[in-house]
């Protein structure tokens, strides 16, 4: 496959198709509409299912239905639409149906605007719906990574029978850069044994999130928690740069992690011992790596396009060993490397001037 100049949203859509996506359901919302449009162009030609649904509520329930048959199914939206889908996320999580959801986050709260944001961090990592559950959350920082993680998202969803979010911000969605798409995989015709395929020579399969008996529902919860513990153990992902001897480690995911990289590089050039840790899985959070780093560094600086939602995770991982500072922009404003560099130098001076 050749390297092409690809727009984030279109790359995400095409990567999903090539990963064997069998059904897409969605509703237009900026800044992710190119995903829906790409699906509208491609899916019917490939003989796969595409519906522009009447709402995000309908979209997620169509995904739920299609995924119940063992088909690879997904939807995509942006923040306000993700809020509407929460009911579905919770049902999907409880009934353990593999589904993939892309959230190209935009400025909020409310209708907000269509500019880039990361303000859905809590929503996707903590509170994607009622009840005790987490989804796997993957946050790419480049078009190539978005492609790779889309493919992986389907594998993870099926491996753990879980909901997987791929979260980007409007910047990544709209950006073009060189990237390589994977080869086309056919849709898999082998259905898992739990799927709704018709009760031929077997007992009926039932997919439900209802369990009226409290101890039995507690059992369901214990099973879900055990699965989440497995995911937490095995699926922490991150990237890091210049952390070996770092006194200060900047922590940022997605585009803010990438923007921070430019600032960190500048600081390094000027002899400051600064490193970068970019969480790729937001849930499970790369807590193992963060907590080892906490033994080594003097401080963490979190960079986000929100009011500091990831700070809690970094603090928990650091276990109170080192201070955690925060710099972020909100409402669709994208931080530039200069601002982050300024934060780094101010903090670094404080650290090295012997507190």
């Amino acid at each position: 496959m050749a390297v092409e100049l690809l727009k984030g949203n279109e790359a995400i859509a095409e990567a999903a198709i090539r990963a064997g996506l069998e059904a897409y359901f969605g509703y237009p919302i900026t800044p992710q509409t190119e995903i829906l449009e790409h699906m509208a162009r491609r899916m019917p030609d490939l003989g796969r299912a595409f519906i522009q649904a009447e709402s995000e509520v309908a979209s997620i329930n169509m995904v739920y239905g299609a995924a119940c048959t063992g088909a690879r199914a997904m939807t995509s939206s942006s923040s306000p639409g993700i809020s509407l889908m929460q009911e579905g996320f919770s049902y999907i999580a409880c009934s353990e149906v593999p589904c993939v959801v892309v959230d190209v986050m935009r400025g909020g709260p409310g209708l907000g605007n269509i500019d880039p944001s990361q303000a859905d961090y809590f929503q996707v990592t903590r509170s994607a719906g009622h009840g005790d559950f987490h989804a796997i959350v993957l946050a790419p920082a480049s078009v190539q990574e978005a492609i790779d993680l889309m493919v992986e998202a389907f594998d993870l969803a099926e491996k753990y029978r879980t909901l997987v979010f791929v979260v980007a911000d409007g910047l990544l969605g709209q950006m073009m850069e060189p990237a390589q798409l994977p080869p086309m995989k056919p849709v898999h015709k082998n259905r898992p044994d739990w799927a709704l395929t018709g009760a031929v020579n077997r007992e009926p399969n039932i997919i439900t999130s209802l369990e009226l008996n409290a101890p039995a529902l507690e059992e369901v919860n214990l099973r879900l928690q055990a699965k989440l513990a497995e995911i937490r153990k095995h699926e922490q992902r991150w990237a890091e740069l210049w952390t070996d001897d770092a006194k200060l480690v900047v922590v940022g995911y997605g585009m803010s992690g990438r923007i921070a990289q430019t600032a960190v590089k500048q600081a390094r050039r000027e002899g400051m011992k600064v490193g970068l840790l970019r969480p790729i899985s937001l849930w499970p959070f790369p807590e193992k790596r963060l907590s080892t780093l906490a033994d080594q560094v003097d401080a963490f600086l979190v960079i986000e396009m929100n009011a500091g939602q990831m700070v809690d995770d970094v603090r928990l991982s650091a276990g109170g060993q080192v201070p955690v500072s925060f710099y972020g922009r909100m409402g669709g404003v994208v931080p530039v490397p200069e601002e982050i560099y300024h934060e780094i130098t101010t903090l670094y001076e404080k650290l090295t001037s012997g507190e």
Binding site: V57, N61, Y64, G65, T197, V200, P204, I207
Partner: protein, 263 residues
């Protein structure tokens, strides 16, 4: 004739359809949910499609319908069964997919989903249980509650000035171009039950023929929340519901006509 000989000569005239599991249901005495289940099961048996049928249960008294039907099933969120069924049908077009929904589920919280499913001509079948009340949550006003009807949330009777008028879903969905077959039947006596069953059969046949969306609205009883005995409830359907919700065929697409004659 000995007793044994008599047994041998006996013919089975009535038995549990294969499409129903041999389990007691949780429905109240005199509730017509059970009759509706039986009708659906008999039709699926007669059409020989049980093994390729997937049912979608609603939220409402029939939330556990998947425990009674002997086939693959899913339990949807409140009102979302048509969306879920759409997702299933689009990737399993050769399967028979149906939703079974109450009036709160279909005509209140899920009215958007059902309208769009109908207008897309989604090739699924909906069994719509109209009992003019929210059964499961204990008898609150439904979109189909009759004017003046007392419920726990319209204690002096439904006041149309403040709560609007009951929704006639069959008439509404018949207006959708994508609907192939939309009819209203009732379950209040044997004659009507037989007619209801025929309609359910046509609805599934329409789906099997790929003709588009089909819905059978069934006027149903909720003696528990209506505060009536079973016979009173049947009479109440006949006297009060049927006049407001006239029985009849509201949409029979041309392509469905031959199915009516075949019987």
């Amino acid at each position: 004739m000995t007793a044994v000989e008599a047994l041998v000569e006996e013919q089975i005239v009535y038995q549990r359809p294969e499409s129903l599991l041999e389990v007691p249901t949780h429905y109240c005495p005199g509730c017509t949910h059970g009759i509706a289940h039986r009708i659906v099961a008999e039709v699926l048996d007669e059409l020989g499609v049980r093994e390729r049928t997937i049912g979608v249960s609603p939220v409402g008294c029939s939330v556990l319908a998947y425990k009674y039907f002997n086939m693959d099933g899913a339990e949807a969120a409140h009102g979302r069964a048509p969306a879920m069924a759409t997702g299933i049908k689009r990737v399993m077009p050769d399967h028979v997919v149906f939703t079974y929904q109450g009036d709160g589920d279909l005509a209140a919280i899920g009215i958007g989903e059902i309208i769009h499913t109908a207008t897309r001509g989604e090739n699924i079948t909906t069994i719509f249980i109209n009992n003019a009340i929210y059964g499961m949550t204990g008898g609150q006003m439904a979109p189909t509650t009759l004017p003046g009807q007392r419920t726990t949330s319209s204690v002096t009777g439904r006041d149309v000035e403040t709560t609007g008028f009951p929704i006639r879903m069959a008439e509404m969905l018949a207006g959708m171009t994508g609907s192939a077959y939309v009819v209203r039947r009732s379950l209040h006596n044997v004659k009507e039950i037989n007619r209801a069953k025929q309609a359910v059969r046509v609805a599934f046949q329409a789906q099997l023929a790929g003709l588009g969306f089909s819905m059978v609205e069934l006027l149903s009883s909720c003696p528990t929340n209506w505060g009536m005995s079973a016979p009173e409830a049947m009479k109440w359907i006949e006297d009060n519901m049927v006049p407001y919700y006239p029985l009849g065929d509201y949409k029979v697409a041309d392509a469905v006509q031959p199915l009516l004659k075949r019987k």
